[in-house]
């Protein structure tokens, strides 16, 4: 995939959402469904990999960029990830406290809620590609429960899942 197109598609995903993982449905729609340059399995892997590193959750886009177009793709994805952040400077200059205006807050709230709904639907194909039996279902359900019910760091969930996978197969 052409780097400019990669950048623009990822920028579209980051510019139209309000949190790191909210861009997932747009990324899936463009890269998995429309352009077919990524599989659901690779997208799941990108999400998992980004949770193994510190930093913002949106870093999964860098993994997507790398899978689609190598190191240059990772660079383009990185730029797409950080570009919208600089809009806050314009907001600080021109909007100031108007950002707390009820309509601005209502719109943000509604878009965030819709993003939650979209993420829930994006989960369906991701789960189909990564859950294929009782073991993977248990790993997925346990990860979900641990993340919603405790404040344990995600990286430990990833480490525990990898350890469970290794234990099931037998260590190398």
């Amino acid at each position: 995939m052409n780097l400019l197109l990669l950048y623009l598609l990822l920028l579209k995903a980051t510019l139209t959402t309000f949190s790191g993982m909210s861009s997932l449905p747009l990324v899936r729609a463009d890269f998995v469904v429309r352009h077919k340059v990524l599989t659901d399995q690779q997208l799941s892997r990108a999400v998992a990999v980004s949770r193994m590193a510190p930093g913002p959750n949106g870093l999964y886009l860098v993994s997507v960029g790398y899978i689609v177009a190598g190191t240059a793709g990772a660079g383009a994805a990185f730029v797409a990830l950080v570009t919208p952040a600089f809009l806050i400077i314009a907001f600080l200059k021109f909007l100031g406290r108007n950002a707390e205006h009820p309509i601005a807050l209502r719109v943000t709230q509604a878009v965030t809620l819709a993003s939650g709904g979209l993420i829930a639907t994006a989960l369906i194909p991701l789960a189909r590609s990564s859950i294929d039996g009782p073991f993977s279902l248990t790993v997925a359900a346990t990860s979900f429960l641990v993340l919603v019910a405790t404040s344990i760091d995600t990286v430990w969930v990833v480490v525990a899942a990898a350890a469970a996978g290794l234990a099931r197969r037998g260590l190398p």
Binding site: F18, A48, A53, G58, V62, I89, A99, T121, F144, T154
Partner: protein, 182 residues
């Protein structure tokens, strides 16, 4: 207050962004302690304003928070330094991990670990949706929460692409009467 050096800004943001796991909120909490309480580079009001604006800035909120707070400290250069300090090392690590899994993912034991990690990722995505939606049952009420999140999910299942769904949600947010969000 003495002019803050870019290297000092880079050091603070580098440490907060790359030694804190768990996404944006823990990192912003670390930065609040560093910038407001410890170093007194920002007032609590400035922190609150940047936090509020970061919530309405598209993209990853925490990145907007870094850019905004560093911009208040020393302008555009500082904003760029902060965002790069906080993201570049983590991004390099993500690239290395992705490369490793792509390169060695077919080896038996790597594959076993990788498949379990991907199952965990499905749980993470479910948790992400859950944690994004459930606070709104209290903040916006169950009717609005279910109508917007459920409506978006229903439209997506019906085949509507995400951009129109998000645009409709924004319109619904504009028109929906009720108390201002908490």
């Amino acid at each position: 207050m003495a002019r803050i050096r870019l290297t000092e800004i880079a050091a603070v943001f580098l440490r907060a962004g790359n030694l804190t796991f768990g996404g944006g909120d823990p990192t912003m909490a670390v930065l609040q302690r560093e910038l407001v309480n410890r170093r007194k580079w920002l007032t609590a009001e400035q922190y609150g304003l940047i936090y509020g604006l970061a919530r309405v800035t598209p993209g990853t909120n925490v990145l907007a928070f870094y850019a905004g707070s560093a911009w208040l400290l020393r302008g555009l250069k500082a904003a760029a330094v902060a965002v790069l300090s906080i993201c570049l090392p983590s991004a390099a690590m993500v690239v290395w991990l992705t490369y490793s899994l792509e390169r060695w993912g077919s080896i038996g034991w790597v594959k076993a670990a990788s498949e379990a990690i991907m199952a965990a990722a499905a749980g993470m995505v479910a948790a992400s949706a859950w944690l994004l939606i459930t606070p709104f049952f209290r903040k916006a009420g169950p009717v609005k929460t279910l109508a917007i999140a459920g409506g978006a999910a229903a439209l997506a299942i019906a085949g509507v692409t995400p951009i129109p769904v998000l645009a409709l949600a924004a319109l619904a947010g504009c028109l929906w009467k009720g108390p201002p969000p908490a």
